[in-house]
């Protein structure tokens, strides 16, 4: 099989805090193919967003990317110059953020902001840029697009703003879209509309999507594969159906038990006991050990490696050492 569009290996990003180094992203491996959606799932603070920012090389001080490779279309983004990265951002890799009100500049009209992104990458300018903007808004399902172009962000509804953000994101026809919790700030009906829009974009443009979310409902409906992240590590990566039907890692299992099922009041909700470890003073062993219902002696001593568990499936847990089907999954995608 050909190389995936985005292939991240051993990516590590640290933040230096006054208490010490905080390994927000610690040796993360993931890959996204063209036309595929990979969901990156995990609770707040597990390093999902920092992973996304690291791929874009947008991590700001006191954060620093300390190691790894991020291969995008055959080139390592971490070896590119700032100027080369600028050309890539928005043009070939675009990003959508959680809160569309704060990501749109309050002082400019919608038209200004779309045209600006077209201008930065020399796609179009002048009246051509304006026409392009209208067609982009129409493609995002915005009614009365020419009028909407004159609106300021605060005059739009939440769903409308996120559509505008998406219009800006796809304006230069990117190959990869990184969506950082694109629907978290929206209500449920809008979530579905925006996710449908994303799905359509993926279909039409063979867009690769890295979808960051903590909403397992969104994961189940809109992604092909999912990676579960915990305390800076990927703990399990699997095709979505397999992950949802039979999660392997104790953390992934716990995560699924936290989600209520409609029409199944007989299944009790069980929270995961305890809380996320102190990222500055991490225990030597598995980071989930203090909260793990199946913790073993050795879990406290060393970090388990990733074990291969069938096609496209890896898990970071000693429970699967015996059941491993192939060699440790280092570097396979």
């Amino acid at each position: 099989m050909s190389r995936p569009l985005l292939d991240v290996r051993e990516l590590s990003t640290q933040f230096s805090t006054y208490r010490g180094l905080l390994p927000a992203v610690d040796g993360v491996d993931l890959s996204v193919e063209s036309g595929e959606t990979l969901a990156l799932v995990g609770e707040s603070g597990c390093g999902k967003s920092v992973t996304a920012l690291s791929i874009m090389r947008l991590v700001r001080r006191p954060g620093r990317i300390v190691g790894g490779e991020t291969w995008f279309d055959g080139e390592d983004l971490l070896r590119k110059s700032q100027a080369e990265m600028r050309q890539l951002r928005g043009d070939r890799i675009a990003m959508v953020f959680q809160d569309p009100l704060s990501t749109l500049n309050p002082t400019f009209s919608v038209e200004n902001q779309i045209v600006e992104s077209l201008r930065i990458h020399g796609v179009a300018r002048g009246s051509a840029a304006r026409e392009h903007s209208v067609s982009l808004l129409e493609a995002m399902g915005i009614p009365a697009a020419p009028e909407r172009l004159r609106s300021y962000p605060h005059e739009l509804s939440g769903g409308m703003r996120q559509r505008v953000m998406l219009a800006i994101a796809v304006s230069c026809e990117p190959e990869l879209l990184i969506a950082d919790e694109p629907t978290t700030a929206l209500d449920v009906t809008l979530q579905a509309q925006i996710m449908d829009l994303l799905a359509a974009l993926k279909q039409e443009r063979r867009l690769a999507i890295l979808l960051i979310t903590h909403d397992l409902g969104v994961v189940s409906q809109f992604s092909d594969r999912a990676a579960v992240m915990y305390a800076g590590h990927i703990v399990e990566q699997a095709p979505v159906r397999a992950l949802l039907e039979e999660p392997l890692h104790p953390y992934a299992r716990g995560l699924l038990r936290c989600v209520p099922r409609l029409g199944r009041p007989d299944i009790p909700l069980t929270p995961i006991e305890g809380s996320v470890p102190d990222m500055v003073n991490l225990p030597p062993g598995c980071r989930f050990a203090p909260r793990c219902p199946e913790v073993m002696e050795r879990c406290w001593e060393s970090m388990p490696p990733l074990y291969d568990q069938g096609p496209g499936r890896i898990v970071r847990c000693y429970l699967f050492e015996a059941a491993e089907q192939a060699a440790p999954a280092q570097g396979t995608a």
């Binding site: 920012l53 874009m56 947008l58 600028r86 050309q87 890539l88 951002r89 928005g90 043009d91 675009a94 990003m95 953020f97 809160d99 704060s102 990501t103 749109l104 500049n105 309050p106 002082t107 400019f108 600006e116 992104s117 930065i120 990458h121 300021y152 605060h154 953000m165 800006i168």
Partner: protein, 300 residues
């Protein structure tokens, strides 16, 4: 409900370019009146050469200390009377408006550009530049302005360039602090990260993304600083170390009339009132602007 309204107001204030802002400002009667007075002063200063009935420096020995028009001993040629050298007060005050406004505008623009520019750089890049600049600013803040201006002007003698530099020496500090603080907040804003994500360069982000968002407080500050500068210039001129004596200035005129306050009170009073009227109007206009641009300061 109340929360909703305030949120909308806040949002509205951010979009400084919407016509709603202008309507709000026009609804503020005090600010509109003050603005009109300021515009009138600007017009008088600008057109002083055309409007004045007399040469401001022409002496009329036959009409020394002539009284203003409503008094029985008034000289019909001089509407507001003359000073101790027989110079027409009205004409001198018109030229005085020109100097005050010119110095105010030049000094404010200079300090705005320098202060806001340095403040934006310090706030955006942080690091050593920020540390050094902020220490310089702290030092300047501890510096008594009048003593410093006295020293400079005493050394160079009254001339306009030295006066501008003396007035600007400390004036940029306020713009620096406002710009630095606002950029510090804005650089962490999501729209800045989003712009980076779109491939925007650093100059683009500073000038096109951040600057428009920090302009409203800078405009307000510029207006209020203008009033301060006009007072400072008048004070230095009053002390005889401001505007050169050959150029009519309100501060100098007040100083000239000081000796005659008992017998010819109008010589010192009219230019004093002019200073009061201009500074008050500029301040009231600035406050009106602030009320519109900053909802937290809005009274109702």
């Amino acid at each position: 409900m109340a929360e909703r309204v305030s949120e909308e107001e806040e949002l509205e204030s951010v979009a400084a370019t919407t016509p709603g802002m202008l309507r709000l400002l026009l609804g503020n009667r005090v600010a509109v009146t003050a603005g009109l007075v300021v515009i009138a002063f600007f017009a008088i200063g600008l057109l002083a050469g055309v409007l004045t009935p007399h040469d401001p420096n022409a002496q009329h020995p036959e009409a020394i200390r002539a009284a203003p028009f409503w008094r029985a001993d008034a000289d019909a040629r001089f509407l507001l009377g003359t000073d101790s050298l027989g110079r027409d007060l009205l004409s001198r005050m018109m030229y005085g408006a020109r100097v005050s406004i010119l110095l105010g505008v030049v000094v404010v623009l200079l300090t705005l550009v320098v202060g806001a520019g340095l403040g934006m750089l310090a706030g955006y890049f942080r690091g050593r530049f920020d540390v050094v600049m902020s220490r310089v600013v702290d030092t300047l803040l501890a510096f008594p302005f009048l003593i410093f201006a006295l020293a400079i002007m005493a050394a160079t003698g009254p001339n306009l360039v030295a006066l501008v530099l003396a007035l600007a020496f400390k004036g940029w500090v306020d713009f620096y602090r406002v710009a630095r603080g606002d950029v510090l907040a804005a650089r962490a804003a999501d729209y800045v990260t989003a712009a980076r994500g779109l491939g925007a360069s650093t100059p683009h982000i500073l000038l096109r993304e951040i600057l428009p968002n920090i302009v409203p407080p800078l405009i307000v500050l510029a207006t209020l600083r203008m009033a301060t500068i006009i007072i400072a210039e008048a004070s230095l001129s009053f002390l005889g170390i401001g505007v050169p004596p050959s150029i009519p200035a309100w501060g100098t005129m007040v100083a000239d009339g000081r000796a005659d306050v008992g017998s010819a009170w109008w010589i010192a009073t009219f230019p004093g009132l002019a200073i009061l009227a201009l500074v008050l109007s500029v301040n009231l206009f600035g406050e009106g602007l602030r009320d519109v641009l900053d909802p937290r300061m809005r009274k109702t």
